[in-house]
Symmetry: C2
Subunit: 178 residues, 2 copies
Amino acid sequence: MAKRSFPLSQVYGLLEPGPVVMVTTARKGRANVMTMSWHTMIDFEPPIMGCVVSNRNYTFGILKSTKECVINIPTVELATKAVACGNASGRRIDKFQAFGLTPSPASRVAAPLIDECYVSLECKVVDTGMVPKYCFFILEVVKAWIDRSRKRPRTIHHLGRGTFMVAGRTIRLPSRMR
Amino acid sequence: MAKRSFPLSQVYGLLEPGPVVMVTTARKGRANVMTMSWHTMIDFEPPIMGCVVSNRNYTFGILKSTKECVINIPTVELATKAVACGNASGRRIDKFQAFGLTPSPASRVAAPLIDECYVSLECKVVDTGMVPKYCFFILEVVKAWIDRSRKRPRTIHHLGRGTFMVAGRTIRLPSRMR
């Protein structure tokens, strides 16, 4: 794996644009992955994010009990596998094996990094106050990994019903916003 | 304005990809607009979303007291104005006037639609439980407007520090996900 650790202060710039992410969890030595795009940044540093994981998903119970996950960001090359993970349940299959994804040990959590994703963010659940009402988990990113050799990572962004926008060109504007 | 009402069930597909949005509010007949991209969908229908509005922003107090806003989605043609709105405070200037934005009356809230944005979502604040801790507001979209004549609306997605990704091509994959 070509990923290297990078500063937590830079995490927001990877999540704020709204990419589809692949969330890994693990319980009793068995890892799972789900696809998700209902997430937002909540604070810069330490990086706090929020995300919705439906209580119909297998991941919901694991996340609630282990309070750990990894948020992995795929690029367009992985789009077919990301969709496949979204269409299957970890209750029935091992998605890493079924879809040819490579788990790699994390440093701070039991859930694995996905080797094929260019970014992996190790997270701890820090607040479950909104879970009963909205299935909304508050996560703190505790360790961040990126493959800097990926020069133009084309993230995917879900438009609904199997349609995705692929990240296009980048523009710069004079801004005082962080 | 070429915008027409569209079904609330379709709102998620416009916010889920993570575009920069322009949030309008109004108090005592005076409208304001701020730029924001820390938001997420929370439920499909009625469409519930969550967003972070910092308590350092002029909009924070207005949103908290009026419990109403409009979430407007700009395209790349408006990027310079969106950044300008993010760099200025409504405490000091009328941003509609300063940046040449056209307010248009909403149907369900006092905050105006921004004519130049291709989508406008009228919202009511429905839960402020997470505001003290995270400045996180829960909004329900109560009326949705779109300009369907915009064939390829290129949304912008904030990468941090004045850098934006412009929405690229669209791909379709066989998916059972809504």
